[in-house]
Symmetry: C2
Subunit: 257 residues, 2 copies
Amino acid sequence: MTDTDDTPMTPPSDEAPSDVARGSGVALWKQIAERIEADISEGRLKPGARLPTEAELAERFGVNRHTLRRALATLTDQGLVEATPGRGTFVKEPPLRYPISPRTRFSEIVSGEGRAPGGRVIASQVEAASSDIAAALRVAPGTQVLRLDMLREADNVPLTIGTHWYIADRCRDLDLIAAATGSVTRALEALGLGDYRRLETRITARLADEEERSLLALPPGRAVMVVESINGDPQRRPIQFTRARFSADRVQLIVKN
Amino acid sequence: MTDTDDTPMTPPSDEAPSDVARGSGVALWKQIAERIEADISEGRLKPGARLPTEAELAERFGVNRHTLRRALATLTDQGLVEATPGRGTFVKEPPLRYPISPRTRFSEIVSGEGRAPGGRVIASQVEAASSDIAAALRVAPGTQVLRLDMLREADNVPLTIGTHWYIADRCRDLDLIAAATGSVTRALEALGLGDYRRLETRITARLADEEERSLLALPPGRAVMVVESINGDPQRRPIQFTRARFSADRVQLIVKN
DNA sequence: AAACATTTGTGCGTATGTATC
DNA sequence: TGATACATACGCACAAATGTT
């Protein structure tokens, strides 16, 4: 009861707060969560839109703020909304759809989604292949490889940190060309290796560490998807091994079968 | 400096602590992290093995325990080791390789990795399809669908919570059969729908919420991969939509191209 | 720079209905 | 019929983050 009524079991004289069904066997917070979820998935609440304040929503549904917060909590867990103290609660932008296919190209995928691809080289150096890198590239451990760390973004929003390893003597000056053009794809084309294809992709996930949060502009407690991929030439000989960390908030990987 | 020496800038009189290079431009913790990482990836430290205590490792490398902990922290972030207070630091078991292919079957994959598949039905009910479920199954929103929540495990270790939606009138009593046999695949076979194939898979990730941590026996701060998949009959008509949450710690998704 | 309003986040106490032993 | 535990819901108060004046 919200009002201080001395006849306790009277149903709330329905001067239209909203139609949550009390005593229907379904928890109030669950009904509210489902209503808001439907508002989002059916487009009445658009991505980026701000929800009314918790106090306002609580009043509108005729429940306590705690009850309403319980509903919002499930939506947050499902990744549908995001709340910031002092600002409000917002409907999350849907993640960019990132298809994993034999011909996976970052720039093409981002352009295809109507966004502007970008990126920059964070670091590059020649190093000796550790055993896992060597295994993926099918070379002897210790072989010289070019390591290229890149940050890639769409519409200036960082999406992924990628560490790429190339067999050094097949890729002279790749790092310089990539830094100049901002595109690994174009750099490889310049070297006559434009026709690479993806051989295998391995996906796992974990919490973003501090460096990743900083580079990807993520608040604490966010996850990254760790995507390892082996790319090869038309003869399926490995050229490149990549370990990329995608912001799980902003990217959804798609596999078509 | 570790020792309380009154001649401060003296290099540590190299009575062989271990060969970390002081003043080499590379941070000590980074060198240590890379050494241990190599020990793991090259098999000198096997999965499940316990590392020496932090104090012991610190002494062995000739650094302060804080420095050593900084190294271990990066390995923990990378998911290579896991520390438990009072027990020690352990090399993590490699994740189960879970291939995503047109014919993706949980039981077969787990068996193929030499582990015993298992599972149980958490809940099942008939409900009205929400708009996103309806879109995936290509039916009208509100159509009756059977919802089946399952927990699946390998060698009694929980791997994934899957929520499966089936078009209700194509799958009578599926829930009962699945509960009895413990296998959705076998239950579908019993209904003559054994030949389903995966049409599309969508992958994202986030922090595990409380319910997921409880069901998957995960400590706080772990990530789950959220894998949505659409399965269809041989004519590629959708039969089933699944939203599964995999323990990112224990599973690595593999896509072969 | 400082004060303030707005909004979410958190804690405590209380009451009630509903399962379970 | 308790007795107990648990989830739900409400009320009040304050902390923390943000934006504005």
